[in-house]
């Protein structure tokens, strides 16, 4: 009869953490960054159908890196959690903090109890009434939560990316400016070489503070092209007139000011 070798718990946890970190580092990065009118999500993602960024609720969005099947199940769970809570309480009772806590418990339980930890890192962000009340929570594979200020980079080479974001980002930047910054950071290589990223390789979405109710919008097509082109050099004055101020419905698919909502329509 064979006896299993004794492995100290420190070693078990370290092995699991190394395993998860390696899996995450292989993937492409996602950047979440605050701007004057909301929070922007920029992912390097050539797929049009398999998203790394998603809407969770009125003011809350989700971004993830790592294994798709793992973060997809958490994304769906988050939508179910938020919709159930909003349905049984009220829409204003759904908060990013509660969702982040629930995700953290789930990730932590999987990390210690399951045969394999999730190889993912996620961000849950909630846009507030002004940039001081924006919340960005970053959750890692072991269930630890960090309340981030202003910006987050996840995925491969995220330390270097965060460092570059830290030098380039300041509060009150416009959407065009933060998009340009994020694309610069995503395109920076290990040894100073640069890759040019075009719209086809980017998945961009925002939580727009000024929209009533559902604030999540994907930015695609001509609007994205315009935003990427028009950004002035860093440190310049405010960006172009009007166009960056609000984000219209993506690319012609107009949506009425009043979406579906509480059963009371405006009269």
């Amino acid at each position: 009869m064979s006896m299993p070798f004794y492995v100290p718990p420190e070693q078990v946890m370290k092995d699991r953490a190394d395993f998860a970190r390696k899996g995450i580092a292989r993937g492409r990065s996602v950047i979440v960054v605050g701007y004057d009118r909301g929070i922007a999500f920029v992912a390097e993602n050539p797929s049009r159908a398999l998203h790394k960024v998603s809407e969770i609720y009125d003011r809350i969005a989700f971004a993830a890196v790592g294994r798709y099947n793992e973060f997809e199940s958490l994304r769906v769970a988050g939508i179910r959690y938020a919709d159930l809570r909003g349905y049984s309480y009220d829409r204003t009772d759904v908060t990013a903090r509660a969702l982040a806590n629930t995700y953290a418990q789930t990730l932590g339980a999987v990390f210690t109890q399951e045969s394999k930890p999730f190889e993912i890192e996620i961000v849950v962000a909630e846009v507030g009434v002004d940039s001081d009340t924006d919340q960005i929570f970053r959750l890692t594979y072991d269930g630890s939560v960090a309340d981030e200020q202003g910006f987050v980079a996840m995925g491969g080479a995220s330390e270097a990316a965060e460092e570059r974001l830290g030098t380039g980002w300041r509060p009150g930047m416009t959407l065009a400016e933060v998009l340009r910054l994020a694309v610069d950071v995503l395109g920076a290589g290990e040894n100073g070489e640069r890759r040019a990223l075009d719209e086809g390789q980017l998945e961009v979405a925002v939580l727009d503070r000024d929209r009533p109710r559902r604030s999540f919008r994907r930015i695609v097509g001509p609007l994205l092209t315009r935003l990427l082109v028009e950004a002035p050099a860093a440190g310049g004055a405010t960006a172009g007139p009007g166009s960056t101020e609000t984000v219209p419905g993506e690319d012609g698919s107009a949506s009425p000011a009043d979406g579906p909502g509480s059963p009371a329509p405006p009269s």
């Binding site: 159930l84 806590n101 789930t106 059963p263």
Partner: protein
Amino acid sequence: MTQWSPGRPPRLDDAFLSAGSSSFSEFVSAYRPELLPSGRRLPSGTSIEAPHGTTIVSLLFDGGVVMAGDRRATMGNVIANRDMEKVFAADDYSVVGIAGTAGIAIELVRLYQVELEHYEKIEGAIMSLEGKANRLASMIRGNLSLAMQGLTVVPTYAGFDLESATGRIYSYDVTGGCYIEGGHHSTGSGSVFARGALKKLWRPGLEEQQAVSVAVEALYDAADDDSATGGPDLGRQIWPTVAVVDHSGARFVPSDVLEGHVQRVVAARRDNPGGAR
């Protein structure tokens, strides 16, 4: 002993993490069935009196659809509510109007709104209009056992079909049967009188403003002969709820515009109560 609630573990349980369904009502009926009307049972052989909402009219116009509802809820011979809303936006491109037991109908509408938004978020695409109409039918079907005890809900669903670029009206019966209507439809206790008015006033190719006016007039006729339907209340400034759905989405007609339509209808009926023309 700890104070933690045993029913709500902090970790997302398997019902949340399971793959497959993008339906909110299916998820809730598996996880928290008591939150749904279909998960509740009344003691058999009893019936309770609850407020009823009444008349909804809907009609197609050139480029969309109009739905309007009166504002009265009744409980027996008592007016339970004078300014109740019975027409709701279901999502960006459709509206739902309700007749029947008000409490259950409003709950169904809330559930239906979450259902459509839930699908949209999980699938990343908007459900087809036919699909949305069928989802509503299955919810009505789930309410059948309550309906047998008098708590009926009979909605009308109207939306703009983005594929064919036309408005559509779907009517329902209490068992969840779903029927597509051509032209116009009315439901609720005043529907007989409203239908008579619609037959005479509606014609193909109406403009949006004409359609709103026809809807207001049909409700006026319903209120004229049905005590459970509320007419326009000039003293309290209560007008019908009117929603318009076209290619730009669903919106509610503002009250100052409605006031104009109501005043015209009321003025035209002076010395001509039947609206003969």
